[in-house]
């Protein structure tokens, strides 16, 4: 039987990170993944990530995946694809299905990083073709270049629902509605704002009543929910859609852990049935670790850190690292993890309601319900300073773990938090630092929340990621934050640069009185 020092199940961000750490310390490491391509969820994530530089913020998910694969190859990790691990037995023996064969492998340490599966909801018509998971829609669009449909209803307004809605718009689909049963949008305000200004309406406190159609989805009915989560009679609304995308959460794929005999718990804070792990990610079975979404649904940035910790700890268990060395390295990783796990969206904040940011700024209720800030709410935030001349307006108003805007500015005009670890603080713009209007912050912002505004000239520079790119001189319409048409607009500049990493900077001119409102450009049909 083939043996390894460390066998990792799952080649997502957690598994690859674990493998890289262990292999760099000289261990013989293999990663097995049932997919035909490595990277787990990362390869579908074509958007720029949050976090800070150490979490690979500002880099698009698919790029992070490529970087991890290169690191794994350089470290000598064996990555085996189309290899589904179907069983874990005593003595860390695993059975792997590869093509027509079942192979048995053994390792001294086992790291389970199998990620998560998408949750489903059932409603009349849910088995019709045209109802699919958001992750499946993402795979179709971003990996295979296939549009999942033309007119989409998206159920679920967490970050997954918001990100997938945006990518559907990029693919050329119409997102007819984003519906959520909760009274507020679950994901980041900046993600919501970026689709709201394209004209996507949010229906919070709503749910789907039924999908219509005989052979495929031809429509959907949604309804408003009362306090007891019952549909309010008469609130039903018909939507003409051909596709219903479900983004209603993920569940840890933890069956292998249970099979390995790890102590498990059903923990709603971790989104389901997960193995109990210690600070190193080690389960109750010595030498078996769990890292990433499998031990609690979080994000790729957290999954990578958990992976690194598990990889290091496995190395220590096998005698490749001293306990002191391990603890020193883990402490660094834990700091990186702690900086991510702050603020209103942190795992520990689930179920709580927030009315103000940690700075004491009121949270926009409109952003939470409708996905956009109103003109009057805007001035309450430290990134919004109405200065003379060209300067950024930073419409980032919730405590999210993110700071690429700070790192992007060559003039240090933007600060996020008093210390480097405080990445959930609101960005602050300092008009005294001599902003040159270079636009690097606009392109770097993962939330596309920064606009360069010149009020006197009526010019707004906005991040733009749709194709085909508008041309200089083109006439169109300026849309406000809510997506409503507000005035005519002319494209006066289009900037594309390698450092912008495919976020183009579009400068539009509008009548000066609209400079504070115009936030998106719609091309003339």
């Amino acid at each position: 039987m083939k043996r390894y020092d460390v066998l990792v199940v799952g080649a997502g961000p957690a598994g690859l990170s674990a493998a890289v750490e262990a292999a760099r310390l000289g261990l013989r490491v293999a990663v097995y993944d049932e997919n035909a391509r490595p990277g787990g969820q990362l390869f579908k994530q074509i958007h720029k990530f949050f976090g800070s530089r150490e979490h690979k913020a500002k880099i698009r998910g698919n790029k992070i995946g490529e970087e991890l694969l290169q690191e794994a190859a350089a470290a000598g990790v064996e990555v085996m694809l189309n290899a589904a691990v179907i069983g874990v037995f005593a003595e860390k023996e695993v059975a792997v299905r590869v093509n027509e064969q079942i192979l048995c492998r053994q390792a001294d340490a086992l790291i389970i990083a199998t990620g998560a599966s998408e949750n489903m909801v059932n409603f009349p018509g849910w088995t019709l073709p045209g109802v699919l998971g958001a992750g499946a829609a993402q795979t179709m669009m971003n990996l295979h270049g296939v549009k999942p449909g033309e007119r989409i209803l998206l159920l679920g307004s967490g970050n997954v629902g918001l990100v997938v809605s945006y990518q559907l718009l990029q693919a050329g689909c119409a997102v007819v509605a984003v519906v959520d049963a909760l009274p507020r949008i679950g994901g980041y305000g900046v993600h919501a704002a970026k689709i709201a200004r394209c004209g996507v309406p949010f229906y919070t406190s709503h749910t789907i009543v039924r999908a219509e159609g005989v052979n495929q989805v031809t429509g959907a009915v949604i309804g408003e929910l009362d306090k007891d989560r019952k549909i309010i009679p008469g609130s039903e609304k018909h939507l003409a859609v051909d596709t219903i995308c479900l983004a209603v959460g993920l569940s840890p794929l933890s069956l292998l852990c249970a099979l390995a005999g790890c102590a498990m718990e059903d923990n709603p804070a971790k989104s389901g049935y997960v193995p109990l792990v210690n600070r190193y990610g080690e389960t109750s079975v010595a030498g078996i670790f769990a890292a990433g979404d499998v031990s609690g649904i979080e994000e790729a940035s957290a999954a990578m850190i958990e992976g690194r910790i598990a990889g290091l700890a496995a190395a220590q268990r096998l005698g490749f690292l001293t306990q002191e060395d391990l603890d020193a390295r883990v402490a660094v990783q834990e700091r990186a993890l702690a900086s991510l796990r702050q603020g209103m969206f942190a795992p520990g904040s689930r179920g709580q309601t927030f009315t103000a940011t940690t700075e004491g700024c009121p949270l926009s209720q409109n952003l939470l319900r409708q996905g956009y800030l109103t003109d009057t709410e805007l001035s309450a935030y430290p990134g919004v300073v109405w200065a003379e001349g060209l300067h950024p307006i930073i419409e980032c108003t919730q405590n999210i773990p993110c700071n690429p805007c700070r790192d992007a500015c060559p003039k240090q005009c933007i600060t996020v938090g008093a210390t480097a670890g405080q990445i959930t603080a609101l960005p602050i713009f300092d008009a005294q630092k001599g902003c040159t209007g270079c636009g690097l912050c606009v392109a770097a912002c993962s939330g596309q929340a920064i606009f360069l505004v010149d009020e006197e000239a009526g010019e707004i520079t906005l991040p733009y990621e749709f194709l085909p790119l508008p041309q200089k001189g083109e006439q169109g319409l300026a849309l406000g934050r809510s997506g409503q048409e507000i005035c005519a607009a002319e494209v006066v500049d289009v900037k594309t640069a390698k450092v912008f990493d495919q976020t183009n900077l579009l400068t539009i001119r509008v009548p000066v009185q609209y400079a504070r409102q115009a936030r998106f450009f719609r091309r003339a049909p």
Binding site: I86, Q101, I102, N119, M120, F123, T127, L255, D266
Partner: protein
């Protein structure tokens, strides 16, 4: 939790009982509810009796849905229910592959 058959009252049809829950094995909400009221209180028993979650996706689609129905009928929270027994293979494997593997082992 030691419930006996009948403790939760008899099965009363609900308007949405014909809603499909387990797609792979084509099992409706009504079939699951009826089985629960017939005394099958655990997810494992339901799997054996109705084959919910035993199809191609191995419960990845309906696992949570079935759990929610059982919890609701028993009046407990889903987290309180005893989880299903994990068994290998965790992915569907054709018999011919398993058989070949056995041949190799023996030969």
């Amino acid at each position: 939790m030691m419930l006996e058959r009948g403790d939760i009252g008899g099965y009363i049809p609900a308007p949405d009982d014909d809603l499909l829950v387990c797609r792979c094995e084509e099992i409706s909400q009504g079939e699951i509810r009826r089985a629960i009221h017939d005394g099958l209180f655990t997810l494992t028993e339901l799997r054996r009796f109705l084959r919910t979650g035993m199809g191609l996706c191995q419960g990845q689609t309906c696992g949570r849905l079935v759990k929610a129905i059982v919890a609701k009928e028993l009046g407990v929270s889903p987290a309180e229910l005893e989880p299903i027994t994990a068994r290998s293979p965790v992915r569907p494997v054709e018999m011919r592959v398993l058989a070949r593997n056995q041949e190799q082992k023996n030969g």
